[in-house]
Amino acid sequence: MTVVVGQALTVDEQGTLSYSELVAASGLPAEVVQELVRYGALVPLEPEAPAWTFSGHALFVVRKAQRLRTDFELDTHAVAVVLSYAERIEALEAQLRELRAQLG
């Protein structure tokens, strides 16, 4: 049994990802990642730039997209809709946690 040591990175420490890095990490076909951008589920840092780059957060978006697409057999448009609901739920849950902390 081998022991390896790794450094865990937060979303902010992740740095920016190139389009090809994002596709490789997502497990999605490249055209699905492009579709997600077209539908607004994924926003490049500079959409008009010749080569897209993405924030660390995008990594978790595409990974979730991959799970939803495979596990629920959804088309990309449906994935984009579910992602927007999931993001709203996450934001509300975070808000709820913060309010609970402040109320005690």
Partner: protein, 314 residues
């Protein structure tokens, strides 16, 4: 190899038609998928169903699975003698292989497809949940994970390989946060890059400190006279005790800020610690104290409800 009853996992009969299998899977996925479910152990349950569906939805895999015969779930078994020849050439020894990994490799095994040299394959990603104490999250920690992730073996088959991975978690992480450990997933195959390890963080509640973003909140109970007269209190913080000045006329619910005493993430400025004032009253007072309260009541013209009548007018 341990037998798994994929039909029982999906709750369908062995002769179920493809549509019934699909419906059964979809019904269960809606309930247990970790991205949409709040059920306990949703992730584990869903993994089993995904595995079962992955095999039963594909006619070739389903036929191969049916040929394995019927065994009790969890029972050790070996495929019939001609099974490997027929379905899983190159799968190698069956002893230490997981049924799911065997079927996942169907159609991907090297040599099954023609045309050009086979491309390099990226290693599998690993995922793990990590439970941290409040102190570990506040200070950062090095933790050890026992992984049993899927890896490529030299023939391109999936194998579960036990590994211990030591991971440095940065300070200031919070519940629900996801971290990535680059390159610490399964090794790549044919020169492909290694996969990544993804962690989902859960931080245990602390009896005093509550986390809100990078700020911390705690209660500060005061006596009525401390709140009126002001005082200086010694306050525990995650980084040690500090002295906090409570100004005169402090109200209940007021937040007293201790700058930079919250969570520190990377090199960004630290969050703050807020002490929320609670004014506590003694439940038992002796006669002498009661007299003092009565004197106070008689001399004070403070009316905290003065605005009620004024503002209640429609």
């Amino acid at each position: 190899m341990k037998y798994k009853d994929y039909y029982a996992i999906l709750g369908v009969k062995k002769d179920a038609i493809a549509d019934d299998i699909k419906s059964a899977y979809r019904r269960l996925a809606r309930k247990y998928h970790p991205d949409v479910s709040k059920e306990k152990n949703a992730e584990e349950k869903f993994k089993e169903m995904g595995e079962a569906y992955e095999t039963l939805k594909d006619p070739e895999k389903r036929a191969a699975y049916d040929q394995l015969g019927s065994h009790a779930a969890g029972q050790e078994f070996r495929p019939p003698p001609d099974w490997e020849q027929q379905f899983a050439q190159g799968a190698g020894a069956f002893d230490d292989i997981d049924l799911a990994d065997l079927f996942a490799a169907f159609g991907q095994r090297p040599g099954r497809r023609g045309g050009g040299p086979p491309p390099p394959m990226r290693g599998h990603d690993f995922e793990a949940g990590v439970s941290l104490s409040f102190a570990q999250a506040f200070n950062g920690a090095e933790i050890q994970l026992q992984m049993n992730g899927l890896e490529w073996d030299e023939n391109g088959n999936g194998r579960r390989v036990p590994r211990t991975i030591s991971v440095r978690i940065p300070r200031g992480v919070t519940s629900g946060e996801r971290l990535r450990v680059p390159g610490k997933g399964g090794a790549g195959f044919r020169g492909g890059p290694a996969g990544d390890l993804y962690l989902e963080i859960e931080v245990a509640d602390h009896p005093l400190f509550r986390v809100s973003g990078k700020d911390l909140f705690m209660d500060l109970p005061l006596t009525p006279w401390e709140a009126v007269l002001g005082t200086e209190v010694s306050l525990p913080t995650p980084a040690g005790e500090v002295s906090l000045k409570v100004p005169t006329g402090t109200r209940a619910g007021q937040k007293l800020r201790l700058g930079g005493r919250g969570l520190q993430r990377g090199s960004a400025s630290a969050g703050h610690l807020y002490a929320i004032v609670r004014i506590e009253v003694p439940s038992v007072v002796d006669e002498a104290q009661r007299d003092l309260y009565r004197k106070l009541a008689a001399t004070s013209n403070f009316d905290p409800r003065a605005h009620l009548e004024r503002e209640a007018k429609l």
